[in-house]
């Protein structure tokens, strides 16, 4: 009898929907149907059925081909390569659970590596602005229950977070927003008429790259001063009208995305957005939230901030303390300056999503990809180690875009012999300790690693 599993979390975008239902075969090895998810989530779950999924690590041979090796061989090679490298870079973690992120930190410390996550090419500038200016944010539940004016600035949830609008921001009926969309006014600020802009009541078609000016214009208007006839391609009257809508809101919610962080200004755009939020709080209640891309990309920010004090771009090469300085210790900058001599790609695809010149620089040195499937990084790697898919055949804690932790469950049994990220990193760490004749340092939660002969000890 196929089994319907309810309350499943979707390991795709930052909305981290936790109302998915998955129908699995009675032996719990195949996913038959996926309910409630968007097309991307549905494809993701079904892709786990792919019979060609790798079950063994693959090592690049001198002739350029890939040959399957055993897990112990792969772990040994990875441990030795990491120890040999002067400054390895461990990057990724958009698509894995917090347990894996915590485990990799042991390796990074041991190897004296730089630890970075996908935020570095995504919401990294938002972190910088948040350090400078604070983060007057809330949870998505508050947005759903309270927000009657929703602003989408440089983000396109209809494409990047397909169920965001129906679960949290535009359509749902909440405690103070019982009429759902009818009660909400939606503003969209985007240089294109995106599918989100088509949903909006007001679309301000900004000149691309002029976000800072428009944020500033809004602040100027809110403070009662006059602005030029057009700012960033938007007529004065339109800006005043939009500012008035935000000001008159009962609860204004600003969501911002890659349109602000990928373009000129970077963190300064977000800085201005946060200042606008603060200014709006003089008139009404206003909150702001980054549209984080992956289901657990807020995770490394939480886990590593707890472990090292920094969310991303963490340089552990000094051996004595962690050091963070984006621009210097960020993945793409390190790659372009040829400062790293080993690259580990975990749960992301730097091969496809880094500018190609950064990939070319990284490929000069040992290149390790840890990914459940074949991707561009795995196809150029010297070593590809497959792992289980977090949220599909491996459970774990994830942080949603509003930094709310959610326990995701596994819906099918993992491929036999394939470890999770956490297990793999623990094994690599143990091998590194063996090679250096040192004792592994385990946290209390890892008591079963410390005393392997009596796994019940906690």
């Amino acid at each position: 009898m196929p089994k319907l599993i309810k309350g499943v979390g979707c390991p795709y975008c930052g909305s981290s929907c936790d109302d998915i239902e998955v129908l699995v075969s009675d032996d719990e090895t195949k996913i038959l149907e996926v309910h409630n998810a968007c097309i991307i989530g549905t494809n993701l779950f079904h892709h786990a059925n792919d019979p060609t999924r790798p079950k063994l690590p693959r090592m690049r041979q001198p002739d350029g081909s890939m040959k399957e090796v055993t897990y112990p061989e792969a772990i040994d090679w990875m441990a030795k390569t990491m120890l040999k490298a002067k400054k390895p870079l461990i990057y990724g973690f958009g698509s894995t659970n917090c347990e894996g992120m915590s485990a990799v930190a042991r390796i990074a410390e041991k190897a004296g590596a730089v630890l970075d996550n996908c935020a570095t090419i995504c919401h990294g500038p938002s972190f910088l602005a948040i350090f400078d200016n604070g983060y007057p944010s809330c949870t998505l539940g508050e947005a759903k229950n309270r927000a009657d004016v929703v602003v989408f600035w440089g983000c396109n949830p209809m494409h990047a977070h397909p169920r965001h609008t129906s679960r949290y921001s535009i359509f749902p009926r909440g405690y103070f927003t019982q009429k759902g969309q009818m009660q909400r006014t939606v503003l969209c600020i985007d240089p294109r008429e995106t599918d989100t802009a088509k949903l909006a009541d007001h679309h301000l078609m900004i000149d691309q790259g002029h976000d800072y000016e428009l944020f500033d214009a809004f602040r100027t208007v809110l403070r009662g001063f006059d602005i030029p006839e057009t700012v960033a391609g938007i007529p004065r009257e339109k800006i005043k009208e939009a500012a008035e809508i935000m000001k008159k809101a009962k609860f204004c919610m600003i969501f911002f995305g890659m349109g602000c962080t990928h373009t000129d200004g970077r963190n300064h755009n977000i800085d201005a957005a946060i200042s606008l939020t603060r200014d709006l709080n003089e008139h009404t209640k206003c909150s702001i939230m980054a549209m984080r891309g992956h289901y657990n990309i807020a995770g490394p920010g939480q886990v590593w901030s707890w472990q090292f004090g920094f969310p991303y771009c963490i340089d552990l090469t000094k051996g004595s303390h962690a050091h963070m300085n984006p621009g210097e210790t960020s993945s793409v900058d390190l790659a372009m300056r040829d400062e790293v001599d080993c690259f580990v790609n975990v749960g992301t695809d730097a091969g496809a999503h880094f500018p190609i010149q950064a990939v070319q620089h990284l490929k000069k040195h040992p290149f390790i990809a840890i990914d459940p499937n074949f991707c561009m990084a795995s196809e150029i790697a010297d070593l590809h180690i497959p792992v289980r898919i977090a949220g599909v055949d491996e459970p774990g804690v994830v942080y949603r875009m509003d930094n709310v932790p959610i326990q995701f469950r596994a819906v099918i049994k993992g491929l036999p012999g394939v470890p999770s990220d956490e297990e793999l990193f623990d094994m690599v760490y143990e091998r590194m300790c063996e090679l250096t004749n040192t004792q592994p340092v385990w946290l209390a939660a890892k008591a079963d690693r410390k005393y392997p002969e009596s796994p019940a000890v906690i």
Partner: protein
């Protein structure tokens, strides 16, 4: 051959996301990402027919993609390649000291290249690092 200077942005789309989750070597990913959207007026100025191949050149690279009519309206002067392997052939790695490359808002030159062939994702990435063995 006429050329046109446009401002390039590379952003997500649901077609790209849905195809990516099937696998980056899947034909759907090729169809979803090896395209460039631009305003019909801009296409006319550069002598580009819709659904023909164009060469996009930025300060740091060049890529062949298929010019299509915008699926989401793009104003004149702006061009959009969906995030992915093709877009990243031309994305400048400069980060303004923040770690984030210039994925959006960089100048490109677009010219018709109807006789050129679109490369697959694997060919582009493996080719860039000297591992491409198959095809031309």
């Amino acid at each position: 051959m006429p050329k046109i200077e446009l401002n390039m942005i590379t952003q997500r789309s649901i077609e790209e996301g849905a195809a990516m989750e099937k696998g980056k070597t899947n034909p759907d990913y090729f169809d979803a990402c090896s395209i460039c959207e631009m305003h019909p007026e801009d296409m006319k100025r550069a002598g580009i027919w819709k659904n023909t191949n164009v060469r996009v050149t930025s300060e740091c690279g060049t890529v062949i993609v298929k010019a299509i009519m915008p699926t989401q309206y793009v104003p004149p002067g702006l061009a959009h390649i969906r995030q992915g392997v093709w877009a990243n052939q031309v994305v400048p790695p400069r980060t303004q000291s923040t770690g984030t490359p210039q994925y959006s808002g960089f100048p490109v030159t677009i010219e018709p290249a109807p006789a050129e062939r679109l490369k697959t994702a694997l060919e582009l990435v493996q080719g860039a690092v000297g591992l491409w063995k198959g095809g031309q």
